[in-house]
């Protein structure tokens, strides 16, 4: 490589950084940087009226799992916290699994439409995705609340005599999260199926494979990258969900997101809130790293 070429490459890289700087600055101040402050706060003492007092402490992190007994100051496992974590993980996993079960046929259906109709079906999936999350949650509320559409119809049909109490239960939060995050599963699944050469199916059937065998041996392996991407896209926001459990869980069926908020509000325990935020961030980062590793391995295999 000539010195002139090398200089050109160096200039190009420098320009790349100059051009990216304004965006990076805004993100550093408005998104990335403050995360470091949360990390620091998780090691401080809670202030009496919220905020923090300067002084190193591990109480925030310890508070994730343990509470101090009021009588003798011994540490006991915080059952209430464990219930919230368990609910968050359980609901997120269930949401991911269920969105796949209904999202896969939907993505398949869209991908097998005529090329002209396909963008329209895709658009129909995209609209709810871009619609305000609060509005969608509220729309589900209209259906499942005590005097909502579902109960009204079931009562009119005479199937039930008293309204089903769905709202303010785990089931309500689950239905809401499936509804809200479904497009995030369908879109990557569609992308995976869309690339797929349908003639492979023909080959499978020609070689006397049954439907089940074709599904398991041909379709599922091809859909897998979409499934992994979709699962990440659904699982990550589910785990950090705040609006849906707040509206449909009615403040009682808390998930981690609401629990974090509580620490900054009535709980007045900012260090615990900060530690919980960091914990959530760590779990999400691990999930993303696993995904990136998997995605890279796929790339090298193909």
């Amino acid at each position: 490589m000539s010195p002139a070429e090398e200089a050109q490459i160096a200039t190009s890289a420098r320009n790349a950084w100059y051009l990216s700087t304004p965006a990076l600055l805004i993100l550093l101040v408005g998104a990335v940087g403050p995360l470091l402050i949360v990390l620091v706060y998780s090691f401080l003492l809670p202030g009496k009226y919220g905020n923090v007092e300067w002084g190193f402490s591990l109480d925030g992190w310890r508070g994730i799992l343990f509470t101090k007994d009021i009588f003798d100051d011994t540490l006991v496992l915080a059952d209430a916290h464990l219930t919230i974590f368990w609910r968050s993980v359980k609901l997120s996993v269930l949401t991911t699994v269920f969105t796949f079960l209904v999202g896969f046929p939907t993505a398949w259906f869209i991908a097998t439409r005529a090329p002209k109709a396909r963008p329209i079906w895709l658009f129909l999936i995209t609209i709810p995705f871009w619609t305000n999350l609060l509005i969608r949650t509220y729309a589900i509320n209209e259906v499942i609340r005590t005097e909502g559409l579902l109960n009204t119809i079931l009562m009119k049909l005479g199937l039930i005599s008293t309204p089903l109490q769905i709202i303010y239960t785990d089931v309500a939060v689950f239905i809401g999260m499936v509804y809200v995050y479904l497009p995030l599963m369908v879109l990557p699944l569609f992308a995976a199926i869309d690339r797929f050469d349908m003639r492979l199916l023909e080959a499978g059937y020609d070689l006397y494979a049954g439907r089940w065998q074709v599904l398991r041996r041909i379709i599922l392996p091809i859909v897998k990258p979409g499934l992994i991407a979709g699962s990440i896209l659904v699982f990550v926001p589910s785990l950090g969900a705040y609006v849906t459990p707040r509206v449909l869980g009615g403040g009682k069926q808390m998930m981690i997101g609401n629990f974090i908020e509580l620490q900054f509000g009535q709980g007045r325990n900012w260090p615990l809130g900060a530690a919980l935020s960091m914990l959530l961030l760590i779990v999400v980062t691990i999930a993303l790293l696993v995904y990136v590793r998997y995605a890279n391995r796929e790339d090298t295999n193909v």
Binding site: L19, A31, T112, E147, E261, G273
Partner: protein, 269 residues
């Protein structure tokens, strides 16, 4: 394929489930919209068609303020995030791989990866300090926060557009002694414009929709439309909320349809 009477791509039951999914996606939204035209306050029964709730929302000063605030923030956030995202996209595409490229990608896409509640809490802590130090309480915090999380949404369509453009036209312009600025102004920017418009529209919609970060960052009396609605959900719910939701919904769908049509036009060209 169809002449064989057996379509290989058909899987039994899949179409039924898919149609069910589409119905399930749209029935709640239509229910929400339908109740906004209901005369009755109780929402449990249909009392007849009226536009009263729209009139009520329109005359509600809190709603008016919140709407105006939402639009101002979304406009600023869209302009700022699109401007910086365009520069970043120009910096990170169509050149040789350089040191730190991955780092730039990670930072730009950070808002897509970190749970919103975590960013919200981080900004709450950070801005609380800044507010104490500077005494400034204005909309600047919300605009900054919105600009930040809108950047990846503005960046992705612009980058996609750039990657589809080869450098030959720009090289030709440079060969004809156009200055870099002239080349950008008269060659790159016009070609890039559809991507920039798409990016700005997505950023606008994303900002308009945000609940969580706004809820944590806003100072007293700085409700946006979504945080106002969230606050109302705790109190007695009236179809007024349905009316506001429906209006917001129509706006979003209008923007998305425009986006969809622009994109299709692009593909055709």
């Amino acid at each position: 394929m169809s002449d064989r009477g057996f379509q290989v791509s058909r899987l039994p039951g899949f179409a039924t489930i898919a149609i069910g999914v589409f119905l399930a996606l749209y029935i709640p939204i239509f229910t929400l919209a339908a109740y906004s035209f209901n005369t009755n306050i109780s929402m449990s029964s249909w009392g007849g068609f009226s536009l009263d709730w729209y009139a009520k929302a329109w005359n509600n000063d809190q709603v008016k303020d919140a709407t105006l605030r939402s639009l101002i923030i979304a406009l600023w956030a869209a302009v700022i995030s699109t401007a910086v995202a365009t520069l970043a996209a120009l910096g990170t595409t169509r050149r040789r791989k350089f040191k730190g490229q991955t780092l730039i990608y990670v930072i730009i896409n950070q808002p897509l990866m970190v749970p919103e509640i975590v960013t919200a809490v981080a900004l709450l802590i950070f801005f609380a300090q800044i507010k104490v130090i500077t005494g400034y309480q204005g909309l600047g915090y919300l605009i900054l926060a919105h600009s930040a999380f809108c950047i990846p949404f503005a960046y992705l369509p612009i980058r996609a557009r750039l990657e589809g453009m080869d450098l030959s036209l720009e090289t030709a312009a440079a060969d004809l002694y156009a200055t870099p600025w002239k080349t950008f102004r008269h060659v790159t920017l016009p070609l890039l414009l559809p991507g920039v418009i798409a990016g700005a529209m997505l950023a606008f919609v994303i900002s308009l929709d945000d609940v969580v970060i706004t809820e944590f960052v806003k100072s007293g009396g700085q409700d946006t439309l979504p945080t106002y609605m969230l606050g109302q959900l705790r109190r007695q719910m009236t179809p007024e909320i349905n009316a506001i939701s429906t209006a917001l919904l129509v706006l979003t769908i209008a923007l998305l349809t425009a986006f969809f049509l622009i994109n299709r036009q692009n593909d055709k060209n």
